[in-house]
Symmetry: C2
Subunit: 512 residues, 2 copies
């Protein structure tokens, strides 16, 4: 029996007679109230169901299936169908990312996704990065509405794709759970998101209430719940991820690092939870790299230097057009391990003819005609330093060492694709057991699915917000100082990276 | 402090700072939760308010007025306005009658109506009487929708009239309470009402849940609550009336008789409540009388026979065009007291030249060229007998006598206009102290207003339904037998009407 945001219940009721002429709505409510799971619950008929349910009851001789949607505190009857249709019971969960939106159709009976679709967020028409979108909509109601409609159109498109793929009428879903960062949720509801990036960082809302999907123009009969956020930079997508990975359920301590447009970090277990966020994103995804690109066809995603030669792999095994995040991490790790780049990130011209001056600066030709520049390296190392320093700073704050970490989650597409080994080599990840480094994929979506299937996770989310301590790294004084030390490869304090040192030694490049 | 279905609350909140950067929605909720009356309440932001409230807060430097609407169990924030606008706090209550719809705009601060408007129910375009409308919509979704739209258009028209009259934006009302009979509520929600008049009289619903007015296309921001009904013939209009008159609050016993399209009767006090309904309406309102008409200009509404002459009064003092309910009761009482009609209701040709054969039957010319026929008298007496018998039967069932009655309410327009004395004379009312006979007017509307101003009356209504015993007169065997006895004027058992006997004696018409 699912404990999700919706229920489908088959009942065989006795038709009205002169001796029992309760009203039809009462008959159904009485029938539902006989159930253990509903006897103390508030149940409401929506006017649109009221208008037609009795016809179904009559035709089906009162053998009917009732769909109930959870409104956050009680239930609403969203549909009455003839016969037993319990088998067809679906819900939706959505990861509303700034780059992509991912939606899953979930079989509520089997507690599993039956289909998943991904599209680029239509908001990108108004700006590749969030800041552009924010300035587009700031103090401009019309543009804000335009962006809102674009967001909604994305949901509609995904629903249509899912419907087409499965043949299931997704409009009849009684519930959708959405996880997204704070700016995305602002856009979804049509709010100005300037507050997200502007002091004093008091956003308009972190917890939109459960609403009818149609209240925000999403063509679905049921309710929509957004996983709540903690702060401007720590949104519902992260809370959702924490729920996905059960971080607050275990005694063991987890580090949860999500690198996307921003870097978000959570450390904790069942007893404590500390979180922070910082600007640590775009560079890692190739955003500020000159030949950087998304992980699409033609992107270099794997790279190794063997016998003085750079060997690449591209997505789709097509001609290289640029390099994506995982390729960059491989590249830097390989440059470093082969001595083509020193610990400060400087390219060593004498080490290979692939390294040469290109225009104003040094660069490495990682594929034919494609260069990775000295300035790209610096940008990238700055970002990896920011990410690593967030972890370091927070560990220090807690008086903890890396030994105490049982799981080091690297979420998102970035974490999924980069090689753990290369991540450790460049000092993006700490030098811990590789098994402890986990790439759980899209935890935002996984959390949304989990919440959809277990509505008590709504309380869990609120509890997480309640217990979580939030650090604004921007306001931490010695953060920059720590970050400078972390800009070296793997780190100024190389003792922290024994496995990297061992590898260098093996390669007879003691590097000290 | 009103305890109504809406609240307007003025708060002066501190704007966000770096030290206190709670989200805007949280800031408002925290502000509200500080209040004694809201601290344990569920409060929700509607998405439409979420989209814009923060702009108001900013502009008004957080000196804002929040409008809360009650959804039946919790509150929804329906509006956020700049400054203190508590003074403008209004709600709506509606009596949805089958002939007329009456709506009042209520000042929630002063607990009083500021304006009232009445229109003919636009449903009449689809049938003067309810049955015609029911057959028009039966098994025909399109016609049902047409009737629903007509009903809604009536609400809209009334709202516009109220707005025009008062200059108050009624669309901003946070609550509307509607009282109507079961068929009317079915039509309002777009349901087939055939069930109301058809065995086994299991209607589709007696208790529509509180809904957003817009869910049924009424252009108002807040919630709509319909006073619940007890049975097919005993609707929310009667429950509303019981609440209006506090019948269940007193030790004294009341008889509550509502004569409209149907006759509905309730007898009770704080300890018991018994109710029933029967076909007792149209004839009394002049419906089946050949020259009968509504209480409009030109209708004979008062009549007396003096010195062998009929003297009439018409509404608007215009030329007589027909006769309305109160005129009929006066006419019959006067015919009887003057011996122009005997106790069986037969016109006495020899008593006046106003009484003569007209076509197939005897008739009295009550105004120039206007006749009241023998068959009209019979129809009317049948109906008055039905009404009187309902009371008699119910009193017998309870083992009570008329002496025990403290208040005999005759509700509705009919009760308001007919003369008590004439009502007793023809045996429509029992022969009790005239002071005990009360014409409270539109109790359906008064009850709706009371519920609007005191939301705990919602529970009171449910309690009334719970405790009320309902009798279907149609299924009572000796009802017809009792009714036959009650068809005499004032009654076959004339001992029950001592005051009428006394009057006859005074007129030297002992009539026995």
């Amino acid at each position: 029996m699912t404990e999700g945001w919706s229920k489908k219940i088959y009942v065989e009721l006795l038709p009205p007679t002169e001796d029992d002429n309760r009203s039809d709505s009462e008959r159904i409510l009485d029938g539902l109230k006989e159930r253990e799971d509903l006897k103390d619950e508030r149940i409401r008929f929506s006017p649109s169901v009221l208008r037609r349910f009795y016809q179904v009851c009559e035709k089906a001789q009162w053998n009917i299936t009732i769909t109930l949607g959870f409104d956050g505190t009680g239930w609403e009857i969203l549909d009455v169908e003839a016969g037993d249709t319990k088998e067809e019971h679906y819900g939706l969960c959505t990861d509303l990312g700034s780059t992509t939106i991912v939606m899953e159709l979930v079989d509520m009976n089997r507690s599993e996704a039956v289909a998943r679709e991904t599209i680029f967020n239509p908001q990108t028409a108004f700006g590749e990065d969030i800041l552009t979108r924010i300035f587009y909509t700031k103090d401009n109601e019309e543009n804000r509405e335009e962006l809102r409609r674009a967001t909604v159109s994305g949901f509609c498109e995904l629903m249509e794709k899912l419907e087409k793929k499965t043949g299931i009428n997704v409009k009849k879903c009684a519930a959708m759970v959405v996880a997204g960062n704070t700016a995305m949720i602002h856009f979804l509801f049509g709010m100005d998101a300037f507050c997200v990036f502007h002091t004093p960082y008091a956003v308009h809302t972190l917890k939109p209430d459960v609403c009818h999907a149609r209240e925000i123009d999403i063509p679905m009969e049921g309710f929509l719940y957004c996983c709540p956020g903690k702060a401007n930079y720590l949104g519902g997508d992260i809370i959702s991820g924490i729920i996905a990975e059960d971080i607050t359920e275990r005694e063991e301590i987890s580090v949860f690092l999500d690198i996307g447009t921003n870097g978000e970090l959570v450390i904790g277990n069942r007893n404590f939870l500390i979180a922070g966020a910082g600007a640590a994103g775009p560079a890692l995804e190739g955003g500020v790299v000159k030949t950087g690109m998304r992980a699409e066809k033609g992107a270099v995603d794997r790279l190794i230097i063997e016998n003085g030669e750079i060997k690449i792999h591209t997505i789709g095994e097509e001609r290289a057009e640029g390099i994506c995040g995982s390729g960059i991490v491989d590249l830097l790790a390989q440059l470093f391990l082969n001595g083509w780049m020193d610990l400060r990130g400087e390219l060593q011209e004498n080490r290979s003819d692939r390294i040469r001056r290109q225009g104003q600066e040094m660069a490495v030709e990682y594929a034919e005609g494609l260069y990775f520049y000295q300035s790209d390296i610096e940008e990238f190392l700055k970002t990896k330093a920011a990410a690593a320093t967030m972890v370091e700073y927070m560990m220090q704050t807690m008086g903890m060492t890396m030994d105490e970490i049982d799981r080091f989650y690297v979420c998102g597409a970035f974490g999924t694709h980069i090689s753990k080994e290369a991540g450790v080599t460049i000092g993006l990840y700490p030098d811990i057991d590789r098994e402890k480094i986990i790439s759980p994929g899209n935890t935002s979506l996984a959390g949304a699915r989990k919440i959809l299937l277990h509505r008590e996770k709504k309380e869990k989310a609120e509890e997480i917000l309640e217990n979580m301590e939030y650090i604004q790294f921007g306001s931490v004084e010695d953060f920059l100082h720590l970050m400078t030390a972390a800009m070296a490869v793997p780190h100024t304090d190389y003792q922290r990276y024994p496995s990297v040192m061992k590898e260098l030694k093996k390669r007879e490049r003691p590097h000290l």
